[in-house]
Symmetry: D2
Subunit: 388 residues, 4 copies
């Protein structure tokens, strides 16, 4: 049985990038994963310099991902990469992902998973064909109290569900920052790099994923009103969406990147016959549980009372009152995936808790959400079916 | 010049009612109004008993409003009522209101103002004809920090507006309480008493009024999805509505009376180019002001810093840190109306602050909101114009 | 049996005063009390003008309290005052209070009850002698959720008590405002008007009362460190006090009027073997209940779940989610006292809930607290007994 | 110039321990430190098994720290440890620390630094003698908004300081858990393992350090009232302490481990002439700044407005709204120390920001705090000087 750190390669994430650094912290945190190789930038000099500053072995610092895959696949199995994280902008997910799979490497990939639904479906076919695995970093589903909410709803503690309100206001695109040298803003607002949706792709997909993840009810129809609030922008920076979900659940999804003064205020409320839950990413260690005829309770991450499900407690590192945050949620996705992968390598059945990371199915639904929301926005009809 | 307490009569509000007691507290609070006469119930015995328990002069405790109007109009001007508050259920607003105006009495009236838009328009015609005044008790616009938000937006402190999110979850209709002896639930869910909308009439109108009051932008189109979540109910108990407002503002209005575990959580957020405001009825003395490139501020009712507008400060009774609440907001509407009325009686021009109470125009828009939201709900088209 | 509004007179509270207006709102609110007569200022012109602006009968607007007492005692019992509220500064409580009692009038009185403990004890002797009653307006004990905390502790729901932390930061005396024309600051910082303590008399007594009221454990020893933080001031504006209470409970009482930026942040936490409660005056409608091995609960005023004691629910006017505040807490004291007094007048036994208002005993303990805290501050010994 | 990860050894922290795992996460997070060697338990079997489960090189997994030091000092400088983290219980800090220094290794050490003040002073002498460095993990000073508070006060933004209130309630020792198999509780309540103070050593020292760190004012006198609330316990589990600090600042320090229902609620408030700050560990990414005549502001970690000092921003990893927590605060101490050490190794001057980690001086003050607080508790005098 293999017992060692897993070896991670990375595509993208050089020192001119943002999310790559987050992935490395997440992968480092629990001492289960070793950052071993990288093709860190399409600019070979940045790729090299980034490798140096990150203490990467120069022999495994590559100029591009093709080179990395070619070299790494020929390394002996004792040293070969176990998986590769793809942290490039949206438009540059698909090609390296397919190449990784073709070369026999499992992948971790940023959301939205691809540039189009079609690509996502192709990725799935390739995964099926190769038997390799994919982990999608829908970070917010990594929070323990999100998992607690999901577990409570699954157990029926809220009764039959009725309502979902999910909101995701940010303010950082309130100005035309893409014209003022903000690299993050530049590619995210560029349809050739980001895809057919702006805010709905960047954060709307997170909100939709969270709603489906917590409730285990799928969106079936939506009614979208997307806006470009900042003159000169090419993609939606704001949107309000009505939802129909399975089993008669109704909902609303509100997302904006022009909500001036907001940071990253993802929040969800779900109501059933017996009560409701409320979770806010800004105070992620609390799950507020409201009851129809009883006082509201505050469930807290890391607590040792019996109310918490194993899915919550196994995704905590500290006892109650020692707040964990975004990086730990991210690290939970890496940790669960690493344990899943190790079990697979060892031909063991992963635990249910270790199977709990977003997958290709979530990626496909994310792309379908983008398609459906854009189609609905263009339609005069109230309801547009959620289609895959 | 007249200098005395104003004399108030009341129609409805006997001891089997809820909102009448609130009106009396609101009217009492500032010592400007004297509760002088009443036709407190359609049940003459309850009317009489209620008068006794409320220390009303037995000679001015009437069996019905017709009797009250007939007697009171013949009382000498030194003792005659100055205005009459109508606190009956929705369906019983119009007839007494018209009768009061015909008898020469100003009126205070609960929202929604009438049973139908048509009635509201007739009421306006009667007001125009008689020159009398009407005050509509949209309570939430009485809060000082709501007025502060309105003043800041009017001054352009948030820049051009972009987004309005207003939400109003309650949970008290999560069960079929109308069949379990809950009198409040019974009439509010009965289309013959409440009108063509349930939750949208009861609380959706508050949310819509708040959005228009704070922003001074009118709703122009809406897209509504109303639901009956509790089986056996006849009117909507839940709804999500997309909004278009003047000058390109987009919005969403979410209201529910089946959000189990929620009390009365009216909340509004408005975003402009420069920042946003957030106000929550559950913590009404704070106005959270978010800025694009500066720290969030918390403006507090009763504070003596110069940030507060006169519309806020003149509607506070206590210094900062001595919380005022729902009853004071209600009392602000009565106080402003009383001062307005006294100025009118004395042939003076009321101050702008004393003109700041909801009027027949707000009532008409409320009825039009109900009509439009119900029409939109039945429509397959995405957008329905807001029509009066 | 008498059934009518009670008639209130007032000493002090002219339009140059603050707290008198609060008393009038509190007395008005529930329609149980009629403001009937007043000696509203030591300045006869202000007294007269205040009477006019408050719509007081000119015949019962007096130049001074002696005149009021003389006239009112000779009025027929059908019209005579039922009680008199004394709302003058501290140094001017005792003489009018004694005169009221001598003239046969029940009294409501602001805290601290007198200028010295000795006076408070004399007042008690006079009350015993006359059989009249006194109500002391320790406002904060009027909040429903304070009463809920008291009831839960009395029932043993927290187990044996261990800890009390009560804090009361204000910031309004951060500068030498008494020299800048602030009349409130002027008398409160003047030992000839306020007494031997400054902040400890003004707000420390509220904190001490709240601690004893909620826990029903008396302070037995204290260790005080008082400060004058603002140069030129004559009385303490800040203080930290360690407490020993009955049955081995330990505590701390922190009060300051130079906590710049604080409004009126009275807050108390009590811990027992099984859990703790937390109540904050700035969000008075919530009682946070923490449990040793269970999630924290938030109990809410006005809720209809069975967790609330009758002492809480009978001091609410609105359903949950319609926030009540400082003025309602104040009004609860008036309402309970009015109902108590009406029962007494009618030779009935008041309910326990109607006996729930601060009394002469609380006033005496308040004066003893001031004496003890000042003595402790001057002592080099750690512990000073709480003496009456 | 050396450019590589630093190599960390660890003494203690086997898989039966708590804090060792936290140290490893903190050291891992930023990819600057490699966990290279360990003597992870006094039980050689646990030591070995822990090494295996942590993927430690078996050749560098030692049975005890003596063995580790002997072997590691003889390893070539290219592979030798750069520093050793000592994460054993209090009583077992001093001997390994001295041995590490004698063997030429820098150390990271848990607080309280030693078992006695005397030992701490000896450690300082040894540090001076060897020229090696020590980093003390007072975690809470690693939070960015704590550093922000310190920076604002240093710049005089609050004016002259007046008041410090620091509180630290926990509830986990509310029962006699040390007799129920709780290993953490067992050694922390055992005077032979923990030292002369219980809660004051475990958490009181954190509170005292935070107060001095933020204000840069030293405690000069204290007045302590410590309690053993749980019968059968040998050390204080609760305490209230009055403080005098430099320049006339007054304070209070409240700490308890029997505050049933509290998790880990460290909180500090500091007031000066112009305003105050409030920081709570449970919501560590916000710094509430209160102003005398202006609205309260909420400063947020990761924000890009200009209000944040470099000491705050350089200790953030994520943009505003992506909450960081306890582990990141811990990692900040490791990261700053690692950068400091790397600069030293390279004979460079560390930046001021990289010198910002707790040192032997803080450790000595912590031990002196314990001595003084215990002495004060036994004294009948109000004030006991803070002595080193």
């Amino acid at each position: 049985m293999i017992h060692r750190k897993l070896r991670m390669g990375m595509i993208g994430g050089g020192h001119d990038a943002f999310i790559g650094a987050i992935h490395r912290i997440a992968a480092n945190m629990d001492g289960l994963i070793e950052f071993t190789a990288g093709a860190l930038s399409i600019n070979p000099e940045i790729a090299k310099a980034s490798g140096v500053s990150l203490f990467l072995d120069p022999e495994r610092t590559y100029s591009n991902y093709q080179e990395m895959l070619e070299k790494e696949r020929s390394i002996s199995v004792e040293k070969r990469l176990d998986f590769i994280s793809i942290v490039t902008p949206n438009f540059a997910h698909f090609a390296p992902a397919m190449a990784c799979l073709d070369a026999g490497f499992n992948i971790v990939i940023e959301k939205p998973i691809t540039f189009s639904l079609q690509e996502a479906l192709q990725l799935k076919a390739k995964l099926d064909e190769t038997g390799l695995s994919l982990c999608l970093t829908h970070t917010y589903s990594g929070y323990p109290m999100v998992k607690q909410a999901r577990a409570m709803i699954a157990k029926g503690q809220l009764g039959k569900l009725r309502k979902v309100w999910v909101e995701y206001p940010q303010g950082w695109l309130s100005k035309l920052s893409e014209r003022e040298g903000n690299a993050q803003a530049a590619w995210r607002t560029d349809p050739t790099k980001s895809g057919k949706a702006g805010s709905m792709g960047d954060i709307g997909t997170h909100a939709a994923h969270l709603a489906e993840y917590i409730t285990q009810h799928k969106i079936t129809h939506l009614c979208a009103d997307l806006s470009i609030m900042v003159e000169g922008r090419m993609l939606d920076d704001d949107g309000n969406v009505l939802l129909k979900m399975e089993h008669g659940v109704k909902g609303a999804l509100l997302a904006s990147q022009v909500a001036a003064g907001e940071e990253n205020s993802l929040k969800i409320r779900v109501y059933g016959e017996l009560g409701g839950i409320e979770w806010s990413q800004l105070e992620p260690n609390s799950l507020i549980v409201k009851w129809l005829d009883n006082p509201t309770q505050i469930l807290r991450a890391g607590s040792n009372y019996s109310h918490l499900s194993s899915f919550a407690t196994m995704n905590c590192r500290t006892p109650g009152g020692h707040p964990e945050g975004y990086l730990e949620a991210f690290a939970n996705i890496y940790r669960n995936y690493a344990k899943y992968l190790l079990a697979k390598i060892n031909h063991q059945e992963p635990t249910l808790e270790n199977q709990d990371f977003p997958s290709i199915e979530d990626g496909i639904r994310g792309m379908a959400f983008i398609d459906s929301v854009v189609e609905s926005n263009l339609s005069k009809d109230k309801w547009t079916p959620f289609k895959i």
